[in-house]
Symmetry: C2
Subunit: 419 residues, 2 copies
């Protein structure tokens, strides 16, 4: 649902807001033999306020630990991101390599190291091929210019099949402001921060505390509500930079402009989060699971997560099978307080199960719905008024085929003399 005020979609992703420069180059981190963008830079010409959220995995990649520390100390102004190597499970060497990336960029741009965020995504457990990165930082910084946002979206892709970005402009108390973002998926996607990187820029002026609250709230209602394979990654990061370059005067905490900005941010993040599910690894279905009538918010969430993560439910989605029995069995083991005999299950509004029993709807009609590439399943618990929405995908045989082995990465690392 779009915000309740006019927005205009504009081009340029993270490069769309004023005062942001971007660049991306191909360093051979993904694969030395193939020319693909894999190192990106986002830089604000003006100081920013910033906010971030990070993976809840206790095994955190080196760049996550470092960037978390930077953002605790003050505000970021620049983000360097690479794909092809996650710099996770790499110990002190990993921290050293992340620092080298931040230091290199900070020196070239005349910043403090703590103003630079570093994000990495890709294979875990292998050292960063710094010999391919360090010599190219000058070129990366030199290539900074307005309007290269789409290249950033492309440079952070790993198993993603397409770049995912979105930018809008809207009127904020009389001043036109812009909000742009890009995101990458596409495996290790699970609530509590998906395996993903998401960068968002805005030329609105948002005080730090307001921005941090807005980001927490928006992440909770977007990236924490998607799942592809139920695995929470080591590298998930959302970073938001606000530079005020639109000329707007800073929004007042909890004032009407602040609330309006929060709505726009929530909507943008949810659109990006849905784009991650739609482009999930070997995904063929996008399913919106709506839980209604739960006794508590937590019960509603438990039910949604159990259904969205069940291998058997996801296999039936892959088969276009309106298998409400599997949905109900996942509701049953969710640990929520449910009563089987009260539950209704609807596919795109058509009842498949009423009061825990098969509805009278002809199965062929339900089958036509489950054959669609996108559909909704509404689970009415009929016990209260709490709700939860989640977005999930099917589980395909091709997903497993795709994820059977990362041995090729290890062989390349050996060729590079890294292991």
């Amino acid at each position: 649902m779009e915000p309740d005020f006019p927005i205009t979609r504009i081009k340029g992703g993270v490069g769309a807001p004023q005062g942001f420069l971007t660049s991306a180059i191909s360093c051979g981190i993904k694969n030395p033999a193939v020319e693909r963008l894999d190192l990106a830079l986002i830089h604000s010409e003006l100081p920013c306020t910033s906010a971030g959220t990070f993976t809840t995995n206790r095994v955190k990649a080196a760049p996550v630990k470092m960037t978390q520390a930077h953002i605790r100390k003050g505000d970021l102004r620049t983000i360097i991101a690479n794909s092809g190597n996650a710099n996770a499970c790499t110990g002190m060497q990993g921290i050293h390599d992340s620092r080298a990336m931040a230091d290199g960029v900070a020196e070239l741009l005349g910043l403090k190291r703590t103003e630079v965020g570093v994000c990495s995504t890709g294979v875990i457990g292998l050292p960063m091929p710094m010999m391919r990165i360090s010599p190219r930082l000058g070129e990366l910084v030199g290539a900074l210019e307005p309007g290269r946002g789409p290249d950033v979206a492309r440079a952070i892709m790993t198993s993603d099949t397409r770049p995912k970005e979105l930018a809008i402009s809207f009127d904020l108390g009389g001043t036109r402001v812009r909000l742009g973002g890009c995101v990458k998926g596409a495996g290790m996607i699970c609530p509590s921060m998906s395996t993903m990187l998401c960068f968002i820029t805005t030329d609105a002026a948002i005080p730090r505390e307001s921005l941090r609250l807005a980001v927490l709230e928006a992440v909770e209602e977007s990236f924490n509500r998607i799942t592809i394979d139920g695995d929470t990654s080591t590298n998930d990061t959302v970073l938001v930079l606000a530079n005020g370059a639109s000329g707007i005067k800073p929004v007042r905490r909890n004032g009407p402009r602040c609330r309006q900005f929060r709505k726009a941010l929530r909507w943008l993040m949810l659109e990006l989060a849905k784009a991650v599910v739609r482009d999930g690894e070997r995904v063929t279905k996008f399913v919106h699971v709506k839980v209604r009538g739960a006794r508590t918010y937590l019960d509603a969430k438990k039910v949604a997560e159990a259904v969205c993560k069940s291998a058997l439910v996801k296999a039936s989605w892959n088969g276009g099978d309106p298998n409400w029995g599997r949905v109900l069995h996942a509701v049953g083991y969710s640990r929520a307080a449910i009563r089987e005999e009260l539950i209704d299950i609807l596919y795109n509004g058509t009842p498949a199960c009423v009061g825990g029993l098969q509805a009278e709807t002809p199965m062929d009609k339900l089958r036509d719905i489950a054959a669609l590439p996108e559909f909704e399943i509404e689970i009415r618990l009929n016990q209260g008024s709490a709700e939860y929405d989640m977005y999930s995908s099917d589980f395909s045989p091709e997903y497993i085929d795709f994820n059977r082995s990362e041995y090729a990465y290890w062989k390349q690392a050996r060729k590079d003399g890294l292991v």
Copy 2:
């Protein structure tokens, strides 16, 4: 590991202990067009003590609810089980059908209804085809004879590829006793009772309270430690009958003979549980995950469960990839208190990861281990002395192919006039 006293493997499964009669017939519940055993009966000539554990899913099949009530009231002496239809999500009609099965058997055998346990496994959400079952109960009871245990193991199979049974005899304080069991899997397998039925018989004499404790303990260390697809079913049931027909005098609670019986029961159940994993749907690997050095038992369990249920870890097992990075990332999101830099990961005793970093073992050597059909992964947290063992399988593309659709069952039910 076998018990620390001599046991002899014998033939006959649940029919091996003295005083148990068994039978199985083909009623066309699985598929009217194909002759396959799908209705089985186990009956003790003498009164029994009995114990059972049941699914933790809040959506319980009708026979589970009824059998739970029966065993709360007293002891079972007879079990009737069918495959092909789980009688789950079938409301009052389901309860009525389960009662009809128990009543029919009780009347023919001159028992009270509460002495009969009913178990069903198969498709959920469709009414039981009672017109195929009720007229055949006389034949089923009439066919009771010693030594048909293997037919019972076959009659409870659904997606299982082979019958799974085991029987042993051993000396219990001077008297030879027998212990036999059979089990079926093979999908919806997850800790907290797998999607499975398991029946165990013994001609030892075990007082009810001792038997119930022994069964709780054995299930906790066997069936609650396996997973195939992470889905907890609506029908999981373990039933154990002890009839004392060996002539032994009842064991004393917590006495040496009671402890010895518990050891034998634990071993038998663990063997049957492992057999379920090895015969899991489209499974190609059997992996024993050993967590060592956890601060608490609960932490060890969380780590084992996260690793054994991770779709990405299981996909790498399918690919024979010794991907310790994915194992470590699952340890990280397990919510256990772990410290990345302390963790070692070994494949069949060979280090893959030491202190959170890649070990010096050549990757090709680890790859040879991960290529085996069965191997062990030991995760040393190095923070304490708590341990947990779990048994899991890979996730194969064929598993998803196999589970894409149950539409054919629905079509058959329509042909039968049931929906």
